[in-house]
C-alpha cells in the first residue's frame, strides 16, 4: 500500500517544517471527555451532537449550551462522561439487528387498508 503523498486542505507533510521544543504534559489537568446530546424545541428525542472537555457536570452542561445551542432556544441538554457510555459492537450488528427483517409484519406498509381509512 503506497503512502499518501497528495496534499489536501490544511494538511502539510511532516518533513516540510521544523519542530520545536515539546511543551510538558501533566496528567493532573486532565478534564474528562463528555458526550453531548441535544433535543431541540421541536424535537422528539435527544441527538448526539459531539463531545467536549469539562472538569465537572455543571461545566459540561454550560459548555454544551455555549457550543451547541448558540442558534436555538428551548433545548434539553444531556451530558454523559464518554467513559460511561456502553456501545454495541458493530461486528455484532448482524445478530443484534438482522432478525427484524424477517418480521415484516412489524412494518406498517405490510398492511393494505382501504382508502377510506385515513390517518393511519
Amino acid at each position: 500500500m503506497q503512502l499518501i503523498r497528495k496534499f489536501f486542505y490544511g494538511d502539510i507533510p511532516d518533513g516540510a517544517s521544523g519542530a520545536e521544543q515539546q511543551t510538558s504534559v501533566t496528567k493532573k489537568t486532565d478534564w474528562p471527555l463528555w458526550e453531548v446530546f441535544i433535543r431541540s424545541k421541536q424535537g422528539l428525542d435527544h441527538k448526539h451532537v459531539g463531545s467536549l472537555h469539562a472538569a465537572d457536570a455543571q461545566m459540561a452542561i454550560e459548555n454544551a449550551r455555549d457550543v451547541y445551542t448558540r442558534r436555538m432556544e428551548g433545548v434539553s441538554i444531556w451530558v454523559v462522561e464518554s467513559s460511561q457510555i456502553v456501545a454495541s459492537n458493530p461486528q455484532e450488528a448482524g445478530e443484534l439487528y438482522e432478525p427484524a427483517t424477517d418480521k415484516v409484519y412489524r412494518h406498517p406498509t405490510f398492511y393494505d387498508l382501504p382508502d377510506e381509512v385515513k390517518h393511519m
Binding site: 500500500m1 503506497q2 503512502l3 499518501i4 503523498r5 497528495k6 496534499f7 489536501f8 486542505y9 490544511g10 494538511d11 502539510i12 511532516d14 516540510a16 517544517s17 521544523g18 519542530a19 520545536e20 521544543q21 515539546q22 511543551t23 504534559v25 501533566t26 493532573k28 489537568t29 486532565d30 478534564w31 471527555l33 451532537v49 459531539g50 463531545s51 467536549l52 472537555h53 472538569a55 465537572d56 461545566m59 457550543v67 448558540r70 442558534r71 456501545a87 459492537n89 458493530p90
Partner: protein, 313 residues
C-alpha cells in the same frame, strides 16, 4: 477475519457510500490520515481566531464588533466540533495540542499572514472563508462519519461568515477614498495567499491516490482552486475592485478563468515557518495554554474534591 478480507469489506463500504464510524475496522493508514487531516483542520480554526480576534477591540462600530465576536466564537466552536471528531480516532485533545505547539502538527498557512487594517477582516471573511467553504462542502461527503457530520454542522454556520466579509468590503467600496483604498489594499494582500490555501498543484502528488479512493477527499486541489477563482472573479466586479493578477482572464474555450502563477517559493517558506506571523501565532497559543495550566488544574482538583464529598455525604 484475515486482514485482506477486512480491507475488501472496508473498501466496499466506501464504494457504497456507507459511512465509516469510530468502532468500525479501518486500515491504519486511513485512521492516521483522517486523524492528521481532522486535527489540522481543528488547529486551523483555533489559530484562525487570532488574526481576526486582533480587531475585536478596534472594530469600527458596535455592530461590527458584535458580528466579529460572533464569527470568531463560531470558529472556536468549529474547532471544538473537529477536535471532538478527531478524538473518536483515538488521540486525546491534549496530545493534539502538544503536537500543534511542538510544530509537529500544522494548521492552514493562511493564518500566518497579518491583519493590518480593518479591511483585512472583510477580505478574510470573503476570500479565506470563501475558500474554506468550498473545501468544506466537499468534506460533508467525506467517508468518515464523525468528520462528515462535523462538516455538515460547520457548513450550516459558515454561510454568514463569507457574507459578512463581503458586506464589510461592500460598505468600504462605497465609502470615502480612504476606505476604497483600504479595501483594494486588503484584496491585494490576501488574494494570492487565499489561492495557496488549496495546497500544491495536483501535478506534485503521487499517482496512487488513496485519499480519493477512500473518499477522504473528493475533489482535487486544482479543481477546487479553479472553482474558487471563477467565483471570486465575478464577485469582485460587484465591489468595483480588482484582483491583483494581470493574467486573470476569462477563457471561453475552457469555460473558466485563466489565472497567473502562484509564488510557490513563498508558499513553502510560510509552510516552513517563515511567514510573517508564524512565530506569533504559535507563541500566542502556547502562552494561552501555559497560562491556563493553573486554571485547568484547579478545576480538576475541585471536581475531584467534590466527587469525594458527594460520596461521603
Amino acid at each position: 477475519m484475515p486482514t485482506y478480507d477486512l480491507e475488501k469489506l472496508f473498501q466496499e463500504r466506501i464504494d457504497q457510500e456507507i459511512k465509516i464510524e469510530p468502532k468500525d475496522w479501518m486500515p491504519d493508514a486511513y485512521r492516521k490520515t483522517n486523524l492528521r487531516q481532522i486535527s489540522q483542520h481543528a488547529h486551523s480554526e483555533i489559530v484562525g481566531m487570532l488574526p481576526e480576534g486582533n480587531w475585536i477591540s478596534r472594530a469600527p462600530s458596535l455592530k461590527r464588533k458584535a458580528i466579529l465576536l460572533a464569527k470568531v466564537q463560531d470558529e472556536a466552536g468549529h474547532g471544538l466540533y473537529l477536535y471532538s471528531a478527531a478524538e473518536t480516532l483515538g488521540q486525546s485533545r491534549e496530545q493534539m495540542i502538544n503536537d500543534l505547539h511542538s510544530g509537529k502538527a500544522k494548521y492552514s498557512s493562511i493564518f500566518n499572514y497579518p491583519t493590518l487594517t480593518w479591511a483585512d477582516i472583510g477580505a478574510i471573511g470573503w476570500l479565506v472563508d470563501g475558500a474554506a467553504i468550498m473545501n468544506q462542502v466537499m468534506l460533508t461527503r467525506t467517508s468518515y462519519g464523525p468528520y462528515a457530520r462535523a462538516m455538515v454542522r460547520i457548513c450550516k454556520e459558515e454561510s454568514f461568515h463569507q457574507r459578512q466579509g463581503f458586506e464589510t468590503l461592500l460598505v468600504l467600496s462605497k465609502g470615502t477614498p480612504a476606505q476604497r483604498a483600504m479595501c483594494q489594499d486588503a484584496i491585494n494582500r490576501w488574494w494570492w495567499p487565499a489561492l495557496m490555501m488549496f495546497g500544491p498543484r495536483d501535478s506534485e502528488s503521487s499517482n496512487s491516490d488513496l485519499s480519493m479512493k477512500w473518499k477522504i477527499k473528493r475533489k482535487s486541489n486544482d479543481e477546487l482552486r479553479q472553482q474558487f477563482v471563477d467565483m471570486i472573479a465575478e464577485q469582485v466586479k460587484l465591489l468595483g475592485m480588482q484582483l491583483p493578477d494581470p493574467a486573470l482572464k476569462w477563457n471561453a474555450a475552457r469555460n473558466h478563468y485563466d489565472f497567473g502563477d502562484i509564488n510557490w517559493e513563498e508558499f513553502w517558506q510560510v509552510v516552513k515557518g517563515n511567514g510573517p506571523c508564524n512565530k506569533e501565532r504559535l507563541e500566542a497559543r502556547k502562552k494561552a495554554w501555559e497560562e491556563g495550566q493553573w486554571v485547568r488544574e484547579a478545576a480538576a482538583a475541585y471536581a475531584a474534591k467534590n466527587k469525594t464529598r458527594n460520596k461521603a455525604a
